[in-house]
Amino acid sequence: MTHLDDELRRAFARVDPPRGFAARVRARVAASAPVAPNRRETTGAWTKAGWAMAATLAIAVGSGVWFRAQEQRRAQGEEAKRQVLLSLNIASSKLRAIETKVNHQERER
């Protein structure tokens, strides 16, 4: 036990640092540049995200405009179709009415 006690006492014995140790540490700290975050990498990441968002927005707006134009064209086409059928209805019924009259007059003769 005594031997162990002696060894521990020697190992934990207070030892003064070498002369000028504190000054050298302060000088080393002052000499090293502060570590700053990499701005370029951060900016690049944000730019990519911005472009992705802009592209998504552009696709969304473009799709909306295209869809609306298609809807307008479809509505215009359906209305034109309705008008064509109505016009042909009127023309056809008038032609048939006059055809009937002419045929009737011919039969009377």
Binding site: A80, K81, S87, A91, A97
Partner: protein
């Protein structure tokens, strides 16, 4: 030189003559809609007719027939009025149309007057020995219909549309 001059003169005169062959609905007729109980006002020109043609379903026999007719047309103009009482329009209202149809391009093929006061006229336009348009004027006491179809039209095919699209079929 003379040949070039004649060609240039023809090129200038043909577009000038073209509007005379296409019927214009006079303002006087357009104003009748204000007096009418019911009116139909349809003006379909080239692009709209093409668009309508795209929406006519070839799978449906009625619409296929209409599509075939429409594919050859340049324009359709319909004005149809139903008035509450007689005398809302006069025969003079139609004079502006009839005067346009006096040009050599047009020929009157039907002129039918009934005791009831009904007066129907059919005018056709010939283009290169084929029918290039038809105008139907149907004037009754309380009804007036003007149909102008511009373009190659087969009247037989048009009349056979009767009974289709919900038109009551009138037997001969």
């Amino acid at each position: 030189m003379t040949k070039i001059f004649l060609t240039a003169a023809c090129a200038l005169l043909i577009p000038m003559a073209a509007p005379a062959q296409t019927l214009t609905i006079p303002e006087r007729i357009e104003n009748l809609s204000a007096k009418a109980k019911e009116s139909v006002n349809i003006t379909l020109d080239g692009p709209l007719l093409q668009l309508a043609g795209q929406f006519l379903n070839s799978g449906n026999s009625d619409e296929r027939a209409a599509k075939e007719i429409v594919s050859k047309l340049r324009g359709i103009h319909v004005r149809s009025f139903e008035f509450a009482r007689e005398g809302a329009y006069t025969d003079a209202d139609l004079d502006a149309i009839r005067s346009q149809l006096k040009s050599p391009a047009w020929a009157r093929v039907v002129d039918s007057r009934e005791d009831s006061g009904e007066h129907t006229q059919i005018f056709v336009k010939l283009e290169n020995n084929t029918l290039g348009g038809v105008v139907i004027l149907s004037a009754e006491r309380t009804e007036l219909s003007i149909v102008s179809i511009d373009g190659a039209i087969d009247l037989k095919q048009l009349s056979t549309l009767g009974g289709k699209f919900g038109i009551p079929y009138i037997p001969k």
